[in-house]
Amino acid sequence: MADAWIYSREPTRGSQMAASVAELGFTPRLIEANGSLRPDDADGAARRPPDLAVVIGDEEICGRLRDDAVFADVPILLSVRPEDLDGEVPMSEELLVPPFTPAELEVRIGRARRQLGGAEEAQTVRVGSLVVDLATYQVTVGGEPIDFAFKEYELLRFLVTHPGRVFSREALLNRVWGYDYYGGARTVDVHVRRLRAKLGAEHANRIRTVRGVGYRFDR
């Protein structure tokens, strides 16, 4: 079952949106925009990130979802009333302007999903001579295979499918390791070094250290 989390300060609009996404087969959960990005009663089902996030009119929540690595693979829709379209609307989010039909909602969700990079659909990421085949776990540079240990591959896969975004070490640890490994957040630094060493001079610099913040993959 696909989960949709709906962020709204206005209960009525939130309920309407919940009904709309439920029609498309999502299980909606309303989240009061009280500062938390997760449901209050984070039970087993809710600990996993949702399959869709719909934010009603709150750009700040959009920004926070974008900065939280847990939501890195979650398509985000920003619902904005026609009267609020004032030119300040963020360009990075897929917009939904009510009223809308279920068909339009479905198209908007599909577009939001593709904005995540489209890599999941393509199955292969190409960056210059670097090719990461997400279906077979094979990585080549200039056609030469490179052998990675599992977590090295997982970190590379995450970075190349989320180019241009900065992730803190804690966020990467959370996303790639999913638990607190012996090495703590420094494990991420260690794996980044291993990736750079294995990728070689041409691609090592694509994994940028953003001082005091974390890492970013540049295409």
């Binding site: 776990y137 599992f150 977590k151 607190d180 090495g183 291993r194």
Partner: protein, 432 residues
């Protein structure tokens, strides 16, 4: 099947890996390997592979016992140097037939201490400088080896061979996920040193085990042999395994207080723990008869239990801290030699440091000289008895590991004591 095991299965298929070597170590840290053909990999991942556990006891083998090697899929790595069929390796934990940990497994002994540290909110990072010698394989094995680079007869080619060795070593180590910071020629002729970048202790112990085999393989390809023997030549430096230790509590480096002082209050307690238990740990940091010839000779190897900010002769060096550079604060333990069992060594180093913190040990004043400081054991016999009586070692490693280790070391020491050496003959044969 877990995601990492599925990854292993898929990569083996995609890359045409024919065999996977399952690696584990015996009590003295010697690498043992079982080769599993790709067709048998899935059951190996799901059920482990049976072996005779008495092999883990090294030279003090007892009766046969059933043990299972359980591959750790996260350690899977295709090996870059094997010629012929493509081969990969996985490090293993050893378990009893009922799945419980095997008491003689060094790797799990380290994991237990890492868990204890994690419960206290502490993580250790280890960087390592490993030294070794390269000699010509074709030399007469009955004679002392001649250093490659002052032998004269070899002058024209030696630089090429040595630089080829260094280049290949770095390439191969990085290909198996062991980043290195530097490779350079050491103090003694024919001696080399490679710095392994810091990582968590388990990964570093796996890396050191891998490193030793990688270096030996590359040397063999070039018609050389590599040795991690602690002291192969008279009058020249021995081969150490200097450990650079950083301890973190969350993001905070424990060896660095906010005012810039090192090793810091709790870091000082950790260091005091290391010093307090250094003599009991010597049988692990310096586990061979030959190890004590490296320590006895000085030449920058420590002989006493002391710490210092300056100089290079102390057991522990504490580099001076700089305000705002918390990340570089560390302590350097200088006694271990290149032929130690890294799993047991890291387990004891961490356990000794944690004991210092938990019991609030007071750090003795800095002292570069040996005056007033306790001496490290003078030979393997003395070190083994100190280890045998060590409460820290028994608490940390368990009685099985300790007893097997002691049996190995006593047998080695007894064999040595009963051997007439070149020293005896040169000194006494004609004189007495």
């Amino acid at each position: 099947m877990r995601a990492d095991a599925e990854y292993v299965m898929r990569v083996v298929e995609e890359r045409g890996v024919r065999f996977v070597r399952l690696w584990f170590v015996d009590v003295v840290g010697s690498l043992k390997s079982l080769a599993v053909p790709a067709s048998e990999l899935e059951p190996a991942l799901l059920e482990g592979v049976g072996l005779d556990g008495s092999a883990i006891e090294a030279r003090a083998r007892g009766s046969e016992r059933d043990v299972y090697a359980w591959p750790d899929p996260s350690s899977f790595q295709v090996l870059p140097w094997a010629e012929g069929p493509r081969v990969a390796r996985m490090c293993c934990d050893l378990r009893m037939p009922d799945g419980s940990p095997f008491a003689g497994d060094s790797r799990q002994a380290l994991c237990r201490v890492l868990d204890q540290a994690a419960e206290l909110g502490l993580t250790l990072q280890v960087g390592c400088e490993l030294e070794f010698f390269l000699f010509d394989e074709s030399q007469d094995p009955g004679r002392p080896p001649v250093p490659l680079d002052n032998g004269g007869y070899f002058d024209l080619t030696v630089q090429d061979v040595v630089s080829d060795f260094g280049r290949r070593a770095i390439e191969h180590l990085e290909a198996v996920g062991i980043p290195v910071t530097a490779s350079h020629h050491e103090v003694a002729p024919s001696q080399h040193e490679i710095h392994l970048k810091h990582t968590d202790p388990l990964a570093m112990a796996d890396a050191i085990t891998t490193f030793r085999i990688v270096v030996k393989e590359i040397a063999r390809d070039l018609g050389l042999f590599a040795t991690f023997m602690p002291k192969p030549l008279n009058g020249l430096s021995g081969s150490g395994m200097h450990l650079h230790l950083s301890l973190y509590e969350g993001e905070r480096n424990v060896f660095f207080d906010e005012d810039g002082s090192t090793p810091g209050r709790r870091g000082g307690q950790f260091l005091a723990g290391l010093l307090a238990h250094a003599t009991e740990m010597a049988a692990v940091s310096n586990q061979w008869v030959n190890s004590y010839k490296r320590l006895a000779a000085g030449m920058e190897a420590p002989t006493h239990v002391n710490w210092s900010r300056e100089g290079s002769g102390a057991l522990v060096r504490v580099p001076t801290g700089r305000p705002g550079q918390a990340d570089t604060a560390r302590i350097e333990l200088r006694s271990p030699d290149a032929a130690a069992n890294p799993y047991l060594l890291f387990a004891l180093v961490l356990a000794a440091g944690l004991r210092g913190i938990e019991r609030g040990y007071q750090l003795a004043p800095e002292a570069a000289g040996d005056e007033g400081a306790a001496a490290l054991p003078g030979d393997l016999g003395e070190a083994t008895e100190l280890f045998d009586g060590s409460e820290l070692a028994r608490d940390t490693l368990g009685d099985t590991l300790c007893d097997w280790y002691v049996a190995n070391k006593r047998s080695e020491w007894d064999a040595y004591r009963a051997t007439v050496t070149d020293f005896d003959r040169e000194r006494y044969l004609r004189w007495l």
